[in-house]
């Protein structure tokens, strides 16, 4: 009886041989690495960066070669569909982790992000970027696509200066009635040199549109406060002097309290600051304490500006509301429902960096 069972199963397996054609070989798939979406004249524009390989049984020197296929449509689905039809292979999106949103789409990124955020529409770690490139400019970047992909993958891990600059789809605030809130990284591009410069700016988003750009020092502090980074390497102007310093292994502590029905959060930054220079000259040992003090004051002011640009507008990117709720959930919930949490709450940032 056991032999019969084995024979039956073996026959079943052999009977499946005609199904050889059911699976799709790797060579029949178009590996999509980047999806570009933009809006122009009421039409959605889509661009797909597809990597192909030249057939070569000896794979020592094989690399992916990029091709860009573009199309337009009345909706996102239609535009993507037409772009996919520009080539004859089945598109393979499982390795696509980069979504670029052009200047037209940046007016309201919400529908684009919601399209990909639907369950199983894309991989949940798809990272969205804003880009100043138009569709034509993007289509002309076939040579540089490899750099974008590599840069994007690097940024998604711990990129330059140890910061994870990107946000995956599941981290974006898309569920509210208003549009997307939060921030998106901006992929910088030099049109003259046709060179991708990586992410040098962050766009603060509200109602699906950017309302403020951050770069350099504010961007670094922003990433620190958003717990995307734990270090600062700044080169900035403080009291008319060009100051640079390096601080790593920084630690943020938050202490919440309630005073007279008003929630308060104290955010303290601690750590060591080193390699302090002023106008290109290393600060001497005796003056480091003073220099650190000035840096702390600078960071306090910068943090205050960032809080006004984010929390005060109801864009709680740094999750201050969550920390406040740990102290008194009911009161904070009540204030949130009343729409006054962000107005009345007080955030105090104290930078307490010490020189090495």
């Amino acid at each position: 009886m056991q032999k019969r069972t084995v024979k039956l199963l073996a026959m079943l397996l052999i009977a499946l041989l005609p199904l050889c054609g059911c699976s799709r070989s790797l060579g029949e798939r178009a590996i999509v690495k980047i999806v570009y979406l933009d809006e122009s004249n009421g039409q959605i524009e889509a661009g797909l960066a597809v990597f192909t390989c030249t057939p070569n049984s000896d794979t020592a020197s094989v690399e992916g070669e990029a091709r860009i296929y573009t199309a337009q449509g009345a909706s996102i689905e239609e535009a993507l569909y037409h772009a996919e039809r520009q080539q004859n292979k089945k598109p393979f999106y499982a390795q696509n982790e980069i979504l670029l949103l052009g200047p037209g789409a940046a007016a309201d990124v919400t529908p684009y992000l919601r399209h990909f955020a639907a369950e199983n529409a894309a991989r949940p770690n798809l990272a969205a970027f804003l880009t100043p490139l138009t569709l034509e400019e993007f289509a002309g970047c076939e040579e540089g696509i490899g750099d974008i992909v590599r840069e994007g993958e690097r940024l998604m891990s711990r990129g330059a200066q140890g910061a994870a600059l990107t946000q995956s789809l599941f981290e974006l605030e898309l569920s509210g009635e208003s549009g997307m809130r939060g921030y998106l990284p901006v992929f910088s591009f030099s049109k003259e040199e046709k060179d991708f410069r990586g992410v040098r700016q962050l766009a603060l988003m509200e109602d699906g549109a950017p309302y403020r750009m951050l770069e350099d020092a504010p961007m670094q502090l922003f990433l620190l406060l958003a717990e995307r980074s734990n270090r600062l390497t700044l080169y900035t102007q403080i009291d008319g002097e060009t100051v640079s310093f390096h601080a790593q292994q920084l630690c943020l502590t938050r202490v919440s309290s309630m005073a007279g029905g008003v929630p308060k959060l104290t955010v303290r930054l601690t750590g060591a600051v080193e390699d302090i220079t002023a106008d290109g000259v290393p600060v001497e040992a005796g003056a480091r304490q003073n220099a650190a003090g000035r840096i702390n004051l600078y960071l306090n002011e910068l943090a205050k500006e960032l809080n006004e640009a984010t929390f005060a507008r109801g864009n709680d990117i740094f999750h201050y509301g969550w920390w406040m709720k740990q102290f008194d959930t009911a009161s904070c919930e009540a204030l949130l429902r009343a729409g006054t949490l962000y107005e009345t709450a007080q955030i105090e940032f104290i930078s307490d960096l010490k020189p090495v």
Binding site: M1, Q2, T5, L9, L12, L16, L19, C22, S23, R24, F92, A94, Q95, E119, N120, R123, P124, N125, S168, F170, E171, S175, E227, H319, W322, W323, K325, Q326, T329, A330, C332, E333
Partner: protein, 349 residues
């Protein structure tokens, strides 16, 4: 170990554990998203306690009793056996449907339904041919693989866990109770447990409460991880755990969900085979002696017939029906067992 017993109590409990665990990884598509951990965890504890309470009487009857009359043989009548077979077959069919839907959901290249169901049923049939012993031993290994997959998934998502993703809501008893009631299910696997109990030495204690506690802990860990990584997104996801598996990465391997899906499919095959074993066990009591050697075919045949029926009924209806049917059958079995124990005790003075 007596001559009848071929399976240890621990193995049976591992079978129960895996069968119920896999339902947390491969969720029903109609069950909605995972509730926030702040509500889900207390609700899970409440449900685990409720289930344990409901099992006190059947378990006590099985362990205690004056004689051999009921102990080890939960199904005294053909009618009970028939209904048990029906419920277990429906549960097996539902498991196969859910597994097939999940497999199709996660695959880039979906396979024909018929082919997938054929593979599932063939695996269950082979498991029946190999016997209960083989199945529980295989389940032990499959459980190890499943837990390793879960551990890997949790570890690969550690970097993505954020404290502020944990929902901070006011503590509401009503909300927790609502979540508990909505999520309470009496799975037919409990019925399976009692059906397969005769395979275990009567004197051996079965750590059922410990198994339920482990399930509860497992759910708590998953719920916490899902909330910590996905935040509010967890509530919008039907396949929350699958989403977690898609996010986790280890070094250059960034898309490990196919690996996890394979481990979960293995667990689903074990569960389906276990349910088929239960059906076979029940069917053996109904069939006349000359047909008993074909019990495995009848069992798989029942599963195959119920698949289209269950597709038509829908998952939510099925789970409600399972809860009611399992509760009813357990109650009837307990009452019937009490009566038999009583009459047996009287007979023996």
């Amino acid at each position: 170990m007596n001559e009848q017993a071929t399976v240890s109590a621990k193995q049976l409990c591992i079978l129960l554990f895996l069968s119920l665990c896999v339902d947390m990884a491969v969720r029903s598509f109609t069950s909605g998203g995972m509730p926030p951990a702040q509500r889900a965890i207390p609700a899970a504890i409440l449900n685990a306690a409720a289930t344990s309470l409901l099992l006190i009487f059947p378990l006590r009857l099985q362990r205690g009793g004056t004689g051999e009359a009921w102990r080890g043989d939960a199904l005294g009548t053909k009618l009970l056996s028939f209904f048990s077979a029906l419920v277990l077959a429906a549960a097996g069919a539902a498991a196969a449907i859910r597994a097939e839907e999940f497999f199709r959901y996660g695959c880039d290249e979906p396979m024909p339904h018929l082919l997938v169901y054929t593979v599932f049923l063939s695996a269950a049939f082979y498991a029946l041919r190999c016997g209960m012993e083989s199945l529980v031993r295989a389940v032990g290994i499959a459980t190890g693989i499943f837990l390793a997959s879960m551990l890997l998934m949790l570890l690969s998502n550690i970097g993505g866990m954020r404290l502020f993703n944990l929902a901070a809501e006011p503590f509401e008893v009503r909300g927790i109770l609502q979540t508990a009631v909505h999520g309470f299910v009496l799975p037919p696997e409990l019925l399976l447990f009692f059906l397969l109990r005769p395979y275990v030495d009567a004197a051996e204690k079965t750590p059922v409460y410990r198994t339920i506690a482990m399930l509860c802990l497992f759910y708590i860990a998953l719920s916490f991880c899902a909330q910590a990584v996905l935040g509010a997104w967890a509530e919008a996801q039907t396949q929350t755990v699958h989403t977690l598996s898609r996010l986790g990465s280890l070094s250059v391997f960034r898309r490990l969900d196919a690996l996890h899906t394979a481990a979960w499919m293995l667990a689903e095959l074990c569960k389906l085979s276990a349910l088929a074993c239960g059906v076979q066990s029940a069917v053996l009591r109904i069939l006349p002696k000359r047909l008993q050697k074909y019990a495995d075919r009848y069992a798989v045949g029942m599963l195959a017939l119920l698949i289209p029926v269950c597709i038509g009924l829908g998952q939510e209806t099925l789970y409600c029906a399972f809860t009611v049917a399992t509760a009813a059958l357990l109650a009837v079995m307990t009452i019937y067992g009490h009566i038999r124990e009583g009459s047996y005790a009287k007979k023996n003075g």
